[in-house]
C-alpha cells in the first residue's frame, strides 16, 4: 500500500448520537478514478470533509501521498493538493465566475485582485477541457448546471493532485457528464487521483477504476472495477437485494387539473426564460419534461405550481400544488429549522395542524414522523435541523413533505436527485402509485385525507432522459424556454435529443 495517493485509516466521527463514521478506511492510488459509494447518510460526504480538513475526526489518520495531514485544517489539505467539489454549492452569487474562481487562490489573496490572470487561465482551462464558461458572468444568473461547471472549474483551477467530487453529475445533462468523465480520465492519466461520489451505478462504473463502499460509516467493500457489478454493489450498499422497479402501466388520464395558456416568464436576470408555453395536465398522468438545466425549467415550474405569476398568458391551477424545486435539497427547506418546523412550512395553516391561530406542534410532529418513517429519512434525532441531514436525506424529507400534502398537482424538478438506489426506486414506485390513485396515494395523503381515485396530475422535469421516458405518459422537451412535444414515434433518447440539439450551452 506504499504508493497510495490517499490513505484514510480507521477514521471515526460522531455527531451527537449519530456515528457518521466508524473506523472507515479508504485507499486510493495515483492514476485512478476511485468511486465512493453508499446509501444516503452512509458517511461519504463526512469522510471527504475529513480528507479536506473541514472536519476534525474523532479518531484515525489521513495520509496524502505518504504524508500525514493534521486532523483539521483546510490549508494543510489544500497544500497537500486536495481539492473538492462539494455536494452543495459554495459559490458567492453576487460575484462573477472569475472572481469566484479567484477566491482563496494566490491571484485573489494579495492586495490587488489579479483578475486578468484568472481570465487568462480560465480561457486556457476552457480550451484544455472543452468547457464553455463566461468568466465575466455573474454567478447569480447562472443555471444550476452552469454553476456546477463553475464549481468543477474552480477546483481544477487549483491544479489538485487529489480531486474529490461529491455527486457532481446530479445536475449535469448527459453530454456534460461525458465531458466531465473525459476531464477526469485526462486527470488520472497525469497520475492524479480522483475520488468520485455518486448514486447512479452504471454511470459511475463507466469511469471508475476502483470502488469503495461505505455502509453506516463502515467500509464494507473495496475492490477493483473488474471485480464488481451493479447488483453486487447495490447489495453491499444496502445489505440486501434490490428489486428492479417495474415500468408503470399507462393509465387512462382523468379530468384536467391545470392549464397553461401561452405562458411567458422572466428569469432571475429579467430576460425571457419561458415563452409561449401551452400545456394541459390531467389527473392520473405523468407529464415528463426533459431538457438541459437552465432552459427555463425553474421558471416554468414556479409558474406551473402557482409560486410565481406568469409574465404573459394565463395559468389555471388547482387548489393544492406541491413543488419539489430544483435547488439541491436546500431550496425548499430552511437549513436551521428542525424536522417538524420544515414540515410546518407546508402545513402550518392546515386545519389538521392548528388550533385557531396556534400551530398544533403535536400534530405537526405526527406528520413529520409519518414523512420520516414513510421515506426513511435518517435523522440524528427529533430536534435535528435540516442542515445536519445528509444531502439525500434532505431530499427525502422535502419529497416526503410535498407528497404528504395530497396535492392535486405535483410539480417535481429532478426529484430523484441525490437519492440512493433504494430511495430512488421507492420514489418511482410512489409516483406510479400516486398517479394510479392507488394505495400510495392514500398513504401519502394521510395528512390531508382525500377520496381514493382523486389522483394528482404529475409534471416531472428531469435532465435524465431515461427517467422521463420510463415514467412519463406524455413527453416534452424544454429548449430555450419553449416546450416541444415529442411525438409517440420519437419516444427514445435520440428522438428527444434532436429538438434539444444545440441547447447544451444555454
Amino acid at each position: 500500500m506504499g504508493g497510495a495517493a490517499v490513505e484514510m485509516r480507521s477514521v471515526s466521527k460522531r455527531f451527537g448520537s449519530v456515528e457518521a463514521l466508524a473506523d472507515a478506511n479508504l485507499s486510493a492510488r495515483p492514476g485512478e478514478v476511485h468511486a465512493l459509494l453508499g446509501e444516503n447518510g452512509a458517511g461519504k460526504t463526512t469522510l471527504m470533509r475529513v480528507l479536506c480538513g473541514m472536519l476534525r475526526p474523532d479518531g484515525g489518520e489521513v495520509l496524502v501521498e505518504g504524508r500525514r495531514l493534521p486532523p483539521e485544517g483546510t490549508r494543510a489539505a489544500a497544500a497537500a493538493g486536495v481539492g473538492m467539489v462539494h455536494q452543495h454549492f459554495t459559490l458567492v452569487p453576487s460575484l462573477t465566475v472569475a472572481e469566484n474562481v479567484a477566491l482563496g487562490t494566490r491571484e485573489g489573496g494579495g492586495f490587488r485582485l489579479a483578475l486578468e490572470r484568472v481570465h487568462e487561465r480560465l480561457t486556457e482551462l476552457e480550451q484544455v477541457t472543452g468547457l464553455p464558461v463566461d468568466p465575466g458572468a455573474a454567478v447569480a444568473g447562472l443555471s444550476v448546471g452552469a454553476k456546477q461547471r463553475v464549481e468543477i472549474l474552480k477546483a481544477l483551477y487549483r491544479d489538485p493532485r487529489v480531486l474529490v467530487l461529491d455527486e457532481p453529475t446530479t445536475v449535469l445533462g448527459p453530454q456534460e457528464v461525458d465531458w466531465l468523465f473525459g476531464v477526469l480520465r485526462s486527470l488520472v492519466e497525469e497520475a492524479r487521483t480522483v475520488l468520485l461520489i455518486g448514486h447512479k451505478l452504471d454511470e459511475i462504473l463507466r469511469v471508475a477504476d476502483r470502488v469503495t463502499v461505505l455502509r453506516r460509516g463502515r467500509t464494507v467493500l473495496a475492490e477493483g472495477r473488474e471485480a464488481v457489478d451493479a447488483p453486487g454493489l447495490a447489495r453491499a450498499m444496502i445489505g440486501r437485494e434490490t428489486t428492479p422497479a417495474a415500468r408503470p402501466a399507462r393509465v387512462e388520464a382523468g379530468e384536467r387539473v391545470a392549464r397553461l395558456k401561452a405562458v411567458g416568464a422572466l428569469g432571475e436576470d429579467g430576460r425571457t426564460a419561458v415563452r409561449d408555453v401551452t400545456l394541459e395536465v390531467h389527473r392520473g398522468e405523468i407529464v415528463g419534461i426533459g431538457g438541459v438545466e437552465g432552459n427555463g425549467q425553474r421558471e416554468l415550474a414556479l409558474v406551473l405550481s402557482g409560486r410565481r405569476r406568469p409574465a404573459a398568458g394565463s395559468a389555471d391551477l388547482p387548489a393544492t400544488v406541491s413543488l419539489i424545486p430544483q435547488d439541491r435539497g436546500a431550496g425548499g427547506l430552511v437549513a436551521g429549522f428542525d424536522l417538524a418546523e420544515n414540515t410546518a412550512l407546508a402545513f402550518h395553516d392546515d386545519d389538521a395542524h392548528r388550533r385557531g391561530p396556534l400551530i398544533d406542534w403535536a400534530a405537526m410532529r405526527g406528520t413529520a414522523h409519518e414523512i420520516v418513517t414513510g421515506f426513511d429519512v435518517r435523522a440524528p434525532g427529533w430536534r435535528a435541523t435540516a442542515q445536519s441531514l445528509s444531502g439525500g436525506n434532505r431530499q427525502k424529507l422535502l419529497v416526503g413533505r410535498e407528497l404528504a400534502r395530497a396535492p392535486d398537482l405535483l410539480v417535481a424538478e429532478n426529484p430523484m436527485r441525490g437519492l440512493d438506489i433504494a430511495a430512488a426506486a421507492f420514489l418511482r414506485a410512489k409516483l406510479v402509485e400516486l398517479k394510479g390513485g392507488g394505495p400510495g396515494a392514500e398513504e401519502a395523503g394521510g395528512a390531508g385525507g382525500r377520496p381514493a381515485g382523486a389522483a394528482p396530475g404529475i409534471v416531472l422535469f428531469s435532465t435524465d432522459l431515461d427517467e422521463v421516458l420510463d415514467l412519463a405518459d406524455r413527453v416534452f422537451v424544454l429548449v430555450r424556454g419553449q416546450l416541444i412535444a415529442v411525438p409517440e414515434a420519437e419516444r427514445n433518447p435520440a428522438g428527444m435529443g434532436r429538438p434539444m440539439f444545440g441547447s447544451e450551452q444555454a
Binding site: 436546500a330 430552511v334 418546523e341 392548528r354 396556534l358 400551530i359
Partner: protein, 355 residues
C-alpha cells in the same frame, strides 16, 4: 429557546445567542475597565458608583433604571421582531418620535375626555403613527425593491426634523418660550406604580415581550415570520406563505411597537413633546435586540442592562467624575463585542435562531 439552552450540548460548538451575549458583556466590561484605568479613573470606584446609581435602592432602581429600560424594551422588541422577519428596520428612532407626536397631539386635543378613553386612545394613536411611519420604507421595499436600511434611516431624519418644526411652530407651548409643547392632560398620563416615578408602561412592555415571544414560538403567524426571516426562498417555495404579506405585517407591527415606545415615554415620563426627547433609544434598541439574540424574553434582560448603564451614568459622573460620554463608549463597546462574539461563536455554521 430557553429549553434549547438548558439542554446539554453534545460536543457541538453551537452556543446560543444568550451565551454569546454573556461573553460579549464580560469582554466589554473588561475593556471598559481597562479604558477607565488608562484614562486615570479608578475602575472599581466607577463600577461601584454605577452599581449603586442603578441599584442603590428599590426606589432608585424602579424610578431610574426601570423607567429608562421601558422604551428600550419596546423599541428592542420592535427591532427584534423586524430582524426575525429579515426586515432591517433601523428606523425605530423615527417611529418612536412619530408615536410621541401622535400621543401628545391626542393628549392636547381632547383634554376633556375621560381617562379610560383618552389614555388608551393616545397609546393607540402612538402605535398607529409608528406603524404609518414605516409605510414609505415598506412600500419602497415591496414595490420597488429598495433596501429598508437606507429608507428607515432617512425616515428617522424626517421624523426628528418634523418634531423640531412642530415644537417651534404649530405645537409650541402657549407661552411661546421654550421649544416644547404644553403638557398633556392628566387623563392622558400613565398611572404611577408606587411612590416613585415608575409608571404603568413598564409592566405593559414586559407583558408585550412575553406575548411576542409566545406568538413567535406558537402561532402560525410567528412561524411565518421566522420562516421568512430564516429563508425567504424556502418560505416562498412552500406555497403556503405569502412572503410579501409577512414582511408587511412584521414591518408594520415593528413600527407600532416603536411608536408605542414614544407614546409611553410621553404619557409616562415627559408629558410633553420636545426635541431630543429620546437619547437615541431607537438606535440603542438595535444593540438591545442583537444582544438579546432577537429573543423577545432576552430583550427584557438586554434592555435592563442598558437601563442600568444609563442610570449608572449619572452616578458615575457625580461620584467619580467620569464623563457620561464614557458610558456611551461602553455601550458602543458592548455593541462591538456582541457583533464580534456573534461572528466567532457562529462561524462555520449557518445562523440558527431558535424559536
Amino acid at each position: 429557546m430557553i429549553r434549547q439552552l438548558l439542554r446539554p450540548r453534545l460536543r457541538s460548538r453551537r452556543i446560543g445567542p444568550l451565551a454569546a451575549g454573556v461573553v460579549a458583556l464580560l469582554a466589554a466590561t473588561l475593556l471598559a475597565a481597562a479604558g477607565l484605568a488608562l484614562a486615570g479613573y479608578d475602575p472599581a470606584a466607577a463600577g461601584r458608583a454605577l452599581v449603586s446609581g442603578a441599584f442603590g435602592s428599590w426606589e432608585r432602581f424602579a424610578s431610574i433604571t426601570l423607567v429608562r429600560a421601558t422604551p428600550l424594551i419596546l423599541t428592542g422588541l420592535a427591532v427584534a421582531l423586524a430582524f426575525r422577519a429579515g426586515v432591517w428596520n433601523i428606523g425605530a428612532e423615527g417611529q418612536l418620535y412619530a408615536g410621541a407626536v401622535a400621543a401628545v397631539w391626542v393628549g392636547l386635543t381632547f383634554p376633556g375626555a375621560p381617562a379610560w378613553l383618552l389614555l388608551p386612545g393616545a397609546m393607540a394613536a402612538a402605535a398607529v403613527a409608528g406603524g404609518l411611519w414605516t409605510l414609505v420604507p415598506v412600500g419602497l421595499k415591496l414595490r420597488a425593491g429598495v433596501g429598508e436600511v437606507i429608507t428607515t434611516i432617512l425616515m428617522n431624519f424626517v421624523a426628528i426634523h418634523t418634531v423640531a418644526w412642530l415644537v417651534h411652530g404649530p405645537l409650541q407651548e402657549a407661552r411661546g418660550v421654550f421649544p416644547q409643547t404644553d403638557p398633556v392632560a392628566l387623563a392622558a398620563r400613565l398611572p404611577r406604580l408606587g411612590s416613585g416615578r415608575l409608571h404603568a408602561g413598564f409592566p405593559v412592555a414586559v407583558v408585550l415581550a412575553g406575548a411576542l415571544w409566545w406568538l413567535l414560538r406558537h402561532s402560525a403567524w410567528g412561524f411565518r415570520v421566522r420562516a421568512v426571516g430564516a429563508s425567504i426562498r424556502a418560505a416562498a417555495v412552500s406555497g403556503r406563505i405569502h412572503t410579501g404579506r409577512v414582511v408587511l405585517g412584521a414591518f408594520l407591527l415593528s413600527g407600532m411597537l416603536a411608536g408605542l415606545a414614544g407614546g409611553v415615554e410621553v404619557a409616562g415620563v415627559t408629558f410633553a413633546l420636545y426635541e431630543n426627547l429620546s437619547p437615541g433609544y431607537g438606535y440603542t434598541a438595535i444593540a438591545v435586540a442583537l444582544l438579546a439574540g432577537l429573543n423577545p424574553l432576552a430583550v427584557l434582560l438586554a434592555a435592563g442592562f442598558f437601563g442600568v448603564l444609563q442610570a449608572g451614568a449619572a452616578a458615575m459622573q457625580r461620584d467619580v467624575g467620569v464623563p457620561a460620554v464614557w458610558v456611551s463608549a461602553i455601550e458602543a463597546l458592548v455593541i462591538l463585542a456582541v457583533v464580534a462574539a456573534d461572528r466567532f461563536l457562529r462561524r462555520g455554521m449557518a445562523g440558527k435562531g431558535g424559536g
